[in-house]
Structure formats: structure tokens, C-alpha cells
Symmetry: C2
Subunit: 188 residues, 2 copies
């Protein structure tokens, strides 16, 4: 991610960020052409404020996309690891494979010469998976490594979303979780 | 992929495609700004020829990227499935994680509202994997399903390349192949 000025919550910088992000989301929802002048007008800032802060339209869209992909709540706690992982994976697949999900992933990857925005998306997933695994370990359950879940549950879902167009259903997510449970668990 | 006129090999359409692709690759290698007028000038065609055929710069870059990602030779035949898969996976990882590989993948994903270009990249990988599996089955070896290799070898490599910036080495590719061999083989 490009270095950005530190944002003081409630400061002018935070207010600019919020109003520009809101303007982008509104214009996206309206389906019109996205241009820096239109976004600036809607946000009540000058185009040069946007260029100074985000560099160009693509980086701004990537920033908005990463923000949209940030999970809003911790993963549900259903009382056991298998169900927690299944629930999280089916939700993740549904969200990421929806038309808005796909377009956010695309935006995050596009405005990203150094991989920072995409890295942030994956960091969100790692965080959610680690929450699930930590809770399960706390209940005394046997747990796989975080990377096993990332490589064999998250990666196959994202690869299919991006590279293998076709229908994807909850059963696919559950099958990947079952593969981790029945094939890829470390020995106790 | 957008519908394109069928290309008669040796016809004018094929010559235009070749000279435009060559112009893009030369300009990319020189590291200059890529614009449709510059590409047209180098290729000896008019800009409107490019717009008519490819729609816009992003779609043209995606088309060139997919062409660059097309494997030039069938996978090496080392006499057994394990070595064939290891060899192919380490080559694939090295190529795709190189700076040009990453930028082709990015281009293929960017100019791709309907997922067709990215689908073509994945179709190339499926084809290579199927060649390896078919050869092994012909030798009487026990083989995994194509989708097992796509989901648990190809997908984790591509996910790390795109979403988890960091060093990736041949050992990672070989470990994924070992996981398929020791954990994910179907019963004979």
C-alpha cells in the first residue's frame, strides 16, 4: 500500500477520507461513470485533494474496496471448530463470489502494484481464521495450522472466484472444510 | 472473453493481431507509457483499428497477457507422476511469481469484466495438469482428480502470489504436491 499520512480520528484527514469513500460508494451504487472530478464534486472536496491523497482513481477505488472487504464482526461462535469453520467459509464464499464482492476484489488487485491492498484482504481472512482456531484451542479442540486453512480452504475458493467462472455453492466450501478435517489435520 | 472476429491464419486479421501484440510487448519491454496511439504507431495500424478490435487498452493488454501465459510446450515427462507434478508446479510457481508473470496475471484479471481471460489462464493450467495425469494413468499409476490438483496445488500458489506477498520457493510447490500424494489421493 502506498504510504499515506497518518489519520487522526475525527481530524480533517479522517473527514476527507470518509466523505470521499462515501461519495465513491454512492456513485458506484448509482452505476454512473466514476471519475475523479465527479467524486470530488459529490464529496465536497477539490480534485487535487483526491490526487494528492490517493495518487489516481485506481488507487482510490482499491482503498475503498479494501475498506468494504474488512469484516464487520468476528466470526460466529457455534461452539465447535467444524461448524465455526463451515459457517465462516460459506459466508466468505457467498460474499466474495457475489457481483459486488468480485468487483471489490478486482479493484483491490488492480490498484496495487506492490501487493499491499491484496495483502490487506488476505490479512483480514487470516485474522478471522485465527480467531476461530484460537477459540477452538481454548475449548480444548484439536486444530489445524492457520496456513492449512488459508492454503486449502480460502485459496481454492478465491482461485475459483477469480479464475474458474462457474457456479459455486455452500457445498463446495463445506467440502473444503471437510478435507481439512478428515485429511489435513496434524497428528495430536 | 469478448466475442472477436474469427481469425483466419495468415489473413489480414491475424497479421494485425500479430503486429499489435508485438508492438505491446516491445513497448512493455522498453518500459515506456503504454497508450493506444503509441501502440498503433509502432504496429503500423490506426488507433481506430485497435479500438474496433479490442475495445480499449485494458482489454488489449489482457489479450496480450493471456497469450504470454499460454504454455509453449507440454509438461516434461520424467517417467513418474510425482516428479512430473513437482517439476511442473515448481516451474509454474517460478514463472507466475516473477515480476513479468505477476504483471500478466494482473493484466489478465483487470481487462476482464466477465472472467473470460482469467478463465483462459486457468484452462491452460487444467490442460497441463490433465496431460500429466493422463500420461501417469497410461503408465498404470494411481492418480488424483484434476480438481484436486487445481484446488490444492495450483490455487494455493496463485493465492499466495496475488494475496500474500512474500518469498515463495520451490519447496512450497513440492510440499503442496506432497500433500496431494500423502493426504489427498483417492483410495485405489
Amino acid at each position: 500500500m502506498s504510504p499515506r499520512p497518518a489519520i487522526r480520528p475525527g481530524g480533517r484527514s479522517a473527514r476527507v477520507q470518509q466523505s470521499v469513500h462515501t461519495a465513491v460508494r454512492e456513485l458506484q451504487a448509482e452505476g454512473g461513470d466514476l471519475t475523479v472530478p465527479r467524486i470530488a464534486l459529490r464529496a465536497g472536496v477539490t480534485p487535487s485533494t483526491i490526487y494528492r491523497r490517493w495518487g489516481d482513481l485506481q488507487e482510490l477505488l482499491a482503498d475503498v474496496a479494501v475498506e468494504r472487504l474488512r469484516p464487520e464482526t468476528p466470526p460466529a461462535d457455534l461452539g465447535n471448530l467444524r461448524e465455526d469453520l463451515e459457517h465462516w467459509a460459506t459466508d466468505f464464499l457467498e460474499e466474495m463470489s457475489s457481483p459486488p464482492g468480485r468487483s471489490y476484489i478486482r479493484d483491490a488487485l488492480a490498484g496495487d502494484p506492490d501487493g499491499g491492498n491484496a495483502g490487506q484482504c488476505s490479512a483480514y481472512a487470516v485474522e478471522q481464521v485465527e480467531t476461530i482456531l484460537r477459540r477452538a484451542a481454548g475449548r480444548g479442540e484439536h486444530v489445524p495450522a492457520t496456513d492449512t486453512v488459508m492454503d486449502h480452504v480460502v485459496a481454492p475458493m478465491m482461485y475459483r472466484i477469480l479464475f474458474r467462472p462457474g457456479p459455486l455453492d455452500a457445498r463446495y466450501a463445506r467440502d473444503l472444510v471437510a478435507t481439512v478435517f478428515y485429511r489435513l489435520m496434524p497428528l495430536p
